[in-house]
Structures are given as structure tokens and as C-alpha cells.
């Protein structure tokens, strides 16, 4: 982390996410990244699928706004550039194990209850399981404390949906920036 500070100082004027697309760095918003199907830095296919499915239950539309890419990219960023809310919720870095452990537990719980991974469940089953996670009522839950995992992911979805200029203005709230964010979330 300390080693990265130099880079942070050097790069801090840049305003867009750097995603890795076919081996070369390109800059785009997470929404564009989602559409372009960029290479992920942290999550494997199964994790990304579970995260996307969970995001859609937590806040429909957040997958299209780039939630999976947002979390994945932020987890790969140096700590002092990261914007994930988890950084101030009492969990010490690195944060990837928190997300990965929670997503694995979600898939395990889905498999135990319905014989299939979370992303494969029908919408009623997914909603019921998320409600149980929120209330800490999943038996043999193996990940980070279930209600906390729910809280963090839910707020990530709120961030992507309602924490951007477009999201805030979409609620009829004037954005009124002093300094416009160069992108919804930075590098």
C-alpha cells in the first residue's frame, strides 16, 4: 500500500477507471466496461456470475450500471484510490477475500437449499435467500457475517445506482457539483 502512494500521487489527476481489455489499458466508465465485457482483475467467472445475480436482487438494474466491474476494478486498485464503502466499515484490507468468501457462501447456501448455484435459482428463490442472508438466518453460512455481507453489497449497489451524477439527478435531486467527478468513480 505504501509502495503505491507514489503512483497515486502521479496518477491522481486522472479521472477514469482503467480497465484491461484484450491486454491493453483503456479508460471507460463501469457501465461501458460492462457492455464491452472487459477482463476482470479479481473475480473468476463463477464469482462474477453470483455477484451479478445478487446485485440484481439487491437493486434491479445495478448489473447494467456496471456493479460487477465496479467492485472488481476497485478491489484491484491500491487502497488509497479505492472507493468501496467496505474500506471504512471496520474490515481491514485486502477486501477481496471478504467478497469472495461471501459469494462462495451464497452459492453454497443456494446449493444446500435448492441444489443449484445462486445465479441459477429462480427469482423467488433468490429473493427468499437474500432475505435470509440479510437476517442472518442461513444455516451453516460459511462466509463473513451474513447480514454484514448483505449490508456491504447492498450499499455497493446503491453506490453504483444512486451515487453517481446520473443516479442522483435521476431521483430529481440537483447534483450541484463544485468539481464534477471526471467519471462516476475514479481510478
Amino acid at each position: 500500500m505504501l509502495q503505491n502512494r507514489r503512483r497515486f500521487i502521479r496518477d491522481s489527476s486522472l479521472g477514469v477507471l482503467t480497465f484491461y481489455l484484450a491486454g491493453c489499458e483503456v479508460e471507460m466508465t463501469a457501465e461501458q466496461a460492462h457492455r464491452a465485457g472487459v477482463t476482470r482483475q479479481v473475480f473468476n467467472e463463477a464469482e462474477a456470475e453470483a455477484l451479478g445475480a445478487l446485485a440484481e436482487v439487491l437493486l434491479p438494474g445495478s448489473i447494467d450500471l456496471g456493479l460487477v466491474e465496479y467492485v472488481d476494478q476497485q478491489l484491484g486498485a491500491p487502497l488509497d484510490q479505492q472507493m468501496l464503502m467496505i474500506k471504512y466499515l471496520g474490515v481491514n484490507p485486502p477486501f477481496a477475500p471478504f467478497y469472495q468468501g461471501g459469494l462462495a457462501a451464497l452459492d453454497q447456501a443456494a446449493t444446500a437449499a435448492h441444489g443449484d448455484r445462486f445465479a441459477q435459482l429462480d427469482s423467488a428463490q433468490q429473493t427468499a435467500l437474500v432475505a435470509a442472508v440479510a437476517q442472518g438466518q442461513v444455516e451453516n453460512w460459511s462466509g463473513p457475517p451474513a447480514p454484514f455481507f448483505y449490508f456491504v453489497l447492498r450499499n455497493d449497489a446503491v453506490d453504483v445506482t444512486y451515487g453517481t451524477k446520473a443516479g442522483i439527478e435521476g431521483l430529481g435531486i440537483p447534483y450541484m457539483a463544485h468539481i464534477e467527478p471526471p467519471s462516476p468513480w475514479g481510478q
Partner: protein, 525 residues
Amino acid sequence: MAKEKVDVVIVGSGAAGSNIAARLAAGGKAVKILEAGPDRTNDHLVSSGLWARRLKWSGAPVLEEGANPVGHVFNAGQGTGGSAMHHYAVWPRFHPQDFRCRSEHDRGLDWPISYEDLAPFYDLVQTESGIAGDAEREVWRPPGEPYPLPPVPLFPQGQILERGFDARGMKTAPLPLAVTSVAYQGRDPCIWDGWCDSGCPIGALANPVTVDLPKAFAAGAVLETDATVTRILTDAVGERATGVEVVNSAGERREVLADIVVLAAFSIQNPRLLLASATAQHPRGLANSSGRVGQYIMTHSAGLIYGLFKEPTQSFMGAFGGQLVNQDGYEKTTHSDSGAFGSYQWMIAQAVKPNDLLGIGPTRADLFGNDLHSFMKRAARGFATMTAVVEDLPVADNKVVLSDDQRDANGVPLARVTHTTDPQSKSLWDATLVEGQAIFKAAGADEVWTGPQGAMHIMGGTIMGADPATSVTNSYGQCHDLPNLVIAGPGLFPTSAGVNPTYTVHALAARSADHLLDNWGSAVV
């Protein structure tokens, strides 16, 4: 190892360090400020709850324990201006009774000074930083000069909540804010857009980059960022601090020598550095002959009240800190029949954004899916909130110690912080939730709910006191054991009071700086 010599080296460029730097530099001293985090100006303060998270602490992890952790990363910043760079500038004064808690109530601790000792410095600081308020309507306010700036305006959210206080026979006054309600000393007026949590780039809010650092630089002080202090150095006999060891992100170590060392690295890192600087003469850590270094860590409990109203509240308007204040519950025994003890105030009608921890979204953590979408739409129109700042009794076991087995990249043991709220303070927090919900109902809220016991502000850890056997510093922040090692910041507070700390941080820093300049010869030897 490369060495440099100055009159004063200051560790940390936040509220305390910047203020003391400006004063000592103006007094003719050669001042060097070492700041662990990155260099920032107001131009870096992007208006976005997401971007603002880069301002949070990202130095060595703090290991948090206890039933009510202090929330270090949320409550601490890093880089030029420190936490104060994105603080909300709610600046009330402590009350006379806050300084004599032990003698009046046989609880908590006494300060080695009284309100009267600080009053002239509160008066001085409010003209320098510019506080907006209405001293007459603030009937609870202790004696002092009236505010230099007219009060902050009232927006619909504030008007609606004021109704609730009125209906219950409670008073309100404009919230005292170190924010320019009108243009002041070359600073532009606030435009009430509620972006304070991301940092105020227009200079309306009295952060260190706006007020104290320009004065420090003009008087010749030098700020070095990416400069993490890893150790306080002492002379061979262990009677004086001689400087600090500092390392940058490339791993280059240097010594900066000074006549006076000021520790202004906030309430957790100050004791961490003292403990990590143990020597043969100070085996329990520097300045720790009392064993008090690290003890009495305090954090205000936040009594969070939320509601939805039929009429539009325009809760996006105003300052992040709020519009109104109520201190009817300041008497420490107000809720004693329920076992509660301590002071509290209401900060009323904070400007909110839809997301982030203090935003609308997380308040109804039970909702998800389309229910959450529809809540967000309703709340965007009719949401209102207020927060009780609840006093936290000092408890010796709420403390910072060094980790036995975990170190940062520079080899310094991590801080382990335990905090469990005293039951009497917890009962006071409970009482504020009951009162707050009743106020919202009286204001006509359709729905009222509350938040969890959040931690706000971090204080204590290097308390001042009259007795060297039971405190770390004297009333000027000079360590009893090493008088040229000076501590600044809310870590000095023996009690937390029921109001925000940073105005008092400034008043104490002003008093310390005056004392050091007046007694330079005896302070440095």
C-alpha cells in the same frame, strides 16, 4: 542517515498540526510539517461521495476491538489537512461543566483548565476561522464574543424539524458552523450544496488548507507530504525529544531534528507513535511513566433519527453538518432516572446525498429490490434527519496498545484499539433515540426510524491533567516526562463533552502555541 534541523517539527497536517504550525511560524520559528498522506489542495476535492472515500485513512491498518469500535477509517483522514479536510465544521464550544466532570459528578475526569482559561482562545479562533451562528438564540452557549458571521439559513428540512422542537417546548438555534454564511476574509460564501463530506473546494468551510496552512506557509513553514513518522527520537538520557525519524513511500529514511516536537497525528496514531518509541529510559513507551498513554479513548455515539414527511424537505440543501442545534439536554443528569449520564446536543437537518454511510440509502438497510427503489424515490422528496452527539465517559480500558504480532510496512507495530461504551453513556444514547423519535412525530413525520450506534469523532489516548501520575501532558500539551514533546489534537481531552471536538482542538492549539512562544527557552531545554 540524512539529517535536517528545524526549530519545530510537527507530525500531521490536520486541524491541530496546521493551526499550531501557523502560530509558531508566525512567531518566527522554523517549522516543518511532516504528513504521511498525499499532497492535496482544495482542487482535489471532487464533489462525489465515492471519490470522497479517497480522503479517508489509508495508512497502517488499525485493529479494532470491543463492543463499540471507534470506526477509525470512517473517522480519520489522511493527506494534507488530515481528517479536517473533509470534516463538517460543526463548531460549538464545550461548556464549563465539561471541564469539571469528576469534581461535580464523581464520574469521568477533570481537565487541568477551566472554560474560562479557554474562552479567550475560542474568541480568537472564531474570528480567524469564521464561525456562523446566533449567540443570542443559542441560549445554552457559554460566555463569549458573539459569532463573527451571521447564522446559516434555514431550508425546508430545518423548518419542518424545528416544528417538532417547538411542539415539544424545546428550543432551537442556528447550528454554529465554521462556514462562511457571507463572504469573509477573502473567502467566498457557502452555496449550501451539501458537498462538505467530499471537502469544500471553494474555501467556504474552514478546513486547514483554506485557513491555517496558507498562514503557515506565508510565515515560512514547510509541509512535506508522503512523510510517515516512524519514531520519536530522544537524547541519550531520555529527558528531551530531539526529533523524529521519517520514511517516504520509496522506503528512504531520514531524521528531522528539532527543538520542539509536536505530535498532531490524531488520537490513535499519537499514542501508537509514543508506545512504538520506547527506549531504555522509557521502557513502557515515551511519555508514559503514568501508564496512561493510549488510555481513555473516547468516541461520541451518534443518535441517528430519520423520517419521511409528506411535504418536500429539500434535504439536499444546506451544509452536511446541519442547520439547527438544540442543547436542552446538556445537563449531565438530564436522563439520570434511566441510569444515563452525560451531555448531548442535537445537530438538526443535515444535508444528505442518496448514497454513502450518512446518506439516505443505508438508513433502511432492511429494504432491497424494488422496495428499495421506491423508498429512494419517496425519500428523495421527503427525507429528514438529525443526529445526537452523545457524550462518551472516559474509561481507562478503552485504549490503544501495540499489536504483539502485526507491523506495518515500516516495521512499526500496528495499533490495537479497544472501545466499549460505558453503560451510562449507552443509556444516554438510548434516551436520545426515544426523544428524537418523539420530536419527529411532533413535527408530523409519516414514518420515523433510527440508526445503529455509530461512532463519531475520536478523542483521548493522550489525556492532559494536573497530576503527572495520572495523565500524559500538562494543559499546554507538553508531555510531563519530556516537556519539549508537545501533543496537539482531541487526544488531549480528558472528557468528550456532548459537542463536536474541533473548535476546542483549535482553542487548545492556540493556547499551547502562545505558551510555547512565551516560554521558548524553558520549553526547549
